[in-house]
Symmetry: C2
Subunit: 135 residues, 2 copies
DNA sequence: TTAAACTATAAAGCTACTATAAGGTCAATA
DNA sequence: TATTGACCTTATAGTAGCTTTATAGTTTAA
């Protein structure tokens, strides 16, 4: 299978595949005489794994770490679980931060309506004066 | 006031101040004979405004937009409010996406415990097989 | 006087791609 | 046969918002 077919199969762009190869996340495939990359089903699985990890919000470094565990299948999987736990708490703290932020933004927005001039805008005044309900 | 004092006052790094100047968010200050930047209180207010916007999650482009409104104080502030409304809905959709993600991650995590080998790890199996509870 | 602390510019690094440029290869068509 | 279009190659730059590094000049305190 050539790069375009693999890309279509997994739903990524061809450059993304080359990028993953360059980053060491996908093993370099064999080449045809003309230099074209030739992929196997294994590559397809590897690429799909990477994409699912990305959808879960894992960084390329974390994916690399997971791959290193896969290469040594008889160690205990505590590290895998720990990585996921860390990621979950990271996601949770992001959610919390965004919820705080949303409240600040909504209260800032409530301090103005559309019938004013910029000079008297409650939103701009709120930002300028730092009325941002810290924490 | 020199750049280091301004930086300490507002709580940013000196490079960040130079960066904002370069990006057109802070007006270029006067220079001493030796080339050192000299800042006024106005610069301090401008920088604080930028930082508060950044804390609210606004992009530099959005900040630039807000500044352009400030330069024309007698137009109606509908555009300011609209910018904030857009930002609020952006934040809300981020929250929703992260909440969906959190559920996926938690259910993935529940499919394993620490007493397995990598080979049998429920987390890795879940990612590899794509059991990711779409949507 | 010398060293620490400050300032300056320019350029590279970070993440995870995406886009662009310039070119080689291949199959089908006129 | 010539050429068009779709595909492939590499290399490089751009995105956001800084941070880091390199290199060098200036000021200040000991």
């Amino acid at each position: 299978m050539r790069i375009g077919q693999l890309a279509q199969l997994v739903g990524v762009e061809t450059q993304t595949i080359r990028f993953y190869e360059q980053q060491g996340l996908l093993p370099p495939p064999d080449r045809q005489d003309n230099g074209y990359r030739v992929y196997t089903e294994k590559h397809g699985e590897g690429l799909a794994f990477i994409r699912r990890c990305r959808i879960l919000g894992l960084s390329l470094a974390e994916i690399h770490e997971l791959q290193s565990y896969q290469d040594d299948p008889h160690q205990p999987c505590t590290a895998v679980n720990a990585l996921l736990d860390d990621h979950i708490s990271h996601v949770r703290s992001q959610i919390t931060a965004l919820q705080v932020l949303e409240k600040q933004l909504v209260s800032l927005r409530a301090s103005c309506n559309d019938d004013r001039e910029v000079e008297a805008c409650g939103v701009l005044a709120g930002i300028s004066e730092g009325n941002m309900h810290q924490q």
